[in-house]
Amino acid sequence: MVWSDRTVVGVTVGVILVAIINFFVPEWIRQIGLLSMAMGAAALGLLVLWRTGLISFGHALYYGFSAYGVALLNYLGLRDAFLLVIISATMSGLLAWGLGFLVRRYRAIFFALLTMAFSMILYGVLAKTERFGSTDGLNIRPPTFFGYAPQDEAAQICLFLLGLAIIYFLMLGVQFYLRSVLGQMSMAVRENEIRVEYLGYSVERVVHVKYVISGLLAGFGGAIMALAIGQVDPESMVYWTSSGEFVFVAILSGTANVAAPFVGAVVFEVIRHYAWEHGASLWQLIMGGTLLGIIMFMPEGIWSLVQRVGKKKDSAP
């Protein structure tokens, strides 16, 4: 049964609570929530890969590809937020499927570097093409929601609810994937690829499926981000530093639970919000210091705190 899965129950309750709270918070908190959803979706994509021991240093490729997809479709006249997100994210997934044929053969550092090279190619194209606004990027006109065109705060609330619904289904989808046979192969592939091959499974296929899923997730993240800030630009969405931020959130969160990346993303965005007020240097110091601390002392990420409280009843799927 679906509801016998504690994670599913927890995620459902959590999402409903957040949806209710959403109506009572000021705009800037809701904005942090939206940014966290986008960041969390990308980090969830990295979680899927990280389970096999793979790290991508180029997920900004799918994030930025999808964000630009939203901007261009919007420019062409498509206004509906739901369609914008779905179409752009699907295109990201297709791109991941195509590149996956190359990427799936690589492991460890080569995997990270190849994905980074691809994302830097997209950055090079976007930053130098005037059609796409070069380094200034593109603006996005306010979207509509199934024909309804709200203004100001109502628009933000609608976007938040839409994003939340999408994130909810993404979390459930990833949870079911991780529980499926294909998902359970993750750890097996990480431990010993040759044995997995001898058992009759294709390691490359396992990695390829993972790569497509993670590209799709990053695509959803990018699309939500594009709508949330109403603007896309290569520097803050496609450059390798954004990929680094996703990796940061993924490591911060840990891989234990599909909800972890979103908790990690909220922590990340809140710290960023406050640290920026004191200047960029403090922000980078905090980010670097935290990441070092996590790697050295809490390799399971902040979700391990939750597990410690729950006395490890909530084991990983």
Binding site: G53, I55, L102, Y106, A108, I109, F110, A112, L113, L114, M116, A117, F118, M120, I121, Y123, G124, V125, A127, K128, T129, W240, T241, G244, V247, I251, G279, A280, S281, L282, W283, Q284, L285, I286, M287, G288, G289, T290, L291, L292, I295, M296, P299
Partner: protein, 307 residues
């Protein structure tokens, strides 16, 4: 065909080659440090970008102070060579002993992430010390003067960078192939445990290599400082370029770094002159193509897989 056309083409070709070599030699100085560290320690060191940035910032900062106080002119060059050694020793010891020591033997990407974290922190530190204003340190370049070659003006400073890169390449080759220290280094690269058993102090070799690599990274920064305005973010930019160079040439290979940086330099110069839109795109396209067809890089020696 009119004569002018051929002449124009030759001139364009010459310009591309010279610009490419200049850019390539500064890339080489930075990338060779990265590749030496990777070869010995198997660490893809993102912090290298900060070493470069600190080299550039410290040189520009001290240089500006030096010329303000009207001390002898040649001091600028002393600064360019002294700063990297200071940065190399301080940061080399700090990062290797303070951080990497605890991570040897862990997963390759955990180590990359740790150096990425240190890189972020150091970026914050440099922003904190030097702020967001640009620093200028143009005097050494102006001092050496300019020369006209085939109708194009070049400055001696940039041309001397090519010589510097060549000297470094040859010195490294001599060090690795002809000295006892270099051979010990190669033994450690080949098999760490056996070399330890043979009495090589692996800890010292690791520290020494790291300081050497760090110094080279900082030298790249200090040497380029007179030709650019030193701004926040230069480390971020250079580290991906150095990755591309090192991947193209083969990770851990010194000749590979040389060929890789010349290739990247010339191709970038060609793009800048002929198709400005492709400037960045083309470098990473080469990197991706090399990774797809020869993931170990163009010049890396084949590695025996140990079981």
């Amino acid at each position: 065909m009119p004569d002018g056309f051929l002449l124009d083409m030759l001139q364009a070709l010459f310009t591309i080659l010279t610009d490419g070599l200049i850019y390539g030699s500064y890339l080489f100085i930075v990338a060779v440090g990265l590749t030496v560290i990777f070869g010995v320690q198997r660490v893809l060191n993102v912090t290298h970008g900060s070493f470069y940035a600190f080299g550039a910032y410290l040189a520009a900062y001290l240089g500006a102070m030096w010329y303000e106080s009207e001390l002898p002119d040649f001091g600028g060059f002393v600064i360019i060579f002294l700063v990297p050694i200071v940065v190399g020793v301080v940061f080399g010891v700090l990062i290797e002993r303070g951080l990497l020591k605890h991570l040897y033997g862990k997963d390759e990407h955990i180590v990359v992430l740790a150096t990425f974290a240190a890189f972020l922190a150091l970026e914050g530190v440099s922003l904190f010390i030097w702020g967001t204003d640009p620093y200028f340190f143009y005097q050494p370049q102006a001092m050496l003067g300019f020369v006209e070659i085939v109708g194009m003006t070049y400055d001696y400073y940039n041309l001397s960078l090519i010589a510097l890169a060549l000297i470094i390449a040859m010195a490294l080759w001599y060090f690795l192939a002809r000295t006892i220290w270099g051979r010990m280094l190669q033994a450690v690269i080949f098999d760490r445990e056996i070399s330890q058993a043979m009495g090589i102090n692996v800890t010292a070799v690791f520290l020494g290599t790291f300081i050497l690599g760090t110094t080279l990274g900082a030298l790249g920064g200090a040497a380029i400082a007179p030709t650019i305005s030193v701004l926040p973010g230069i480390g971020v930019e250079v580290i991906v370029l150095a990755f591309a160079v090192v991947v193209i040439g083969g990770m851990g290979s010194v000749p590979g770094a040389l060929i890789g940086s010349i290739l990247v330099g010339v191709v970038r110069a060609a793009a800048v002159h002929e198709f400005p839109h492709a400037e960045m795109f083309v470098i990473y396209a080469i990197m991706a193509i090399v990774l797809v067809f020869r993931p170990e890089g163009l010049f890396a020696p084949p590695r025996v897989r140990k079981i």
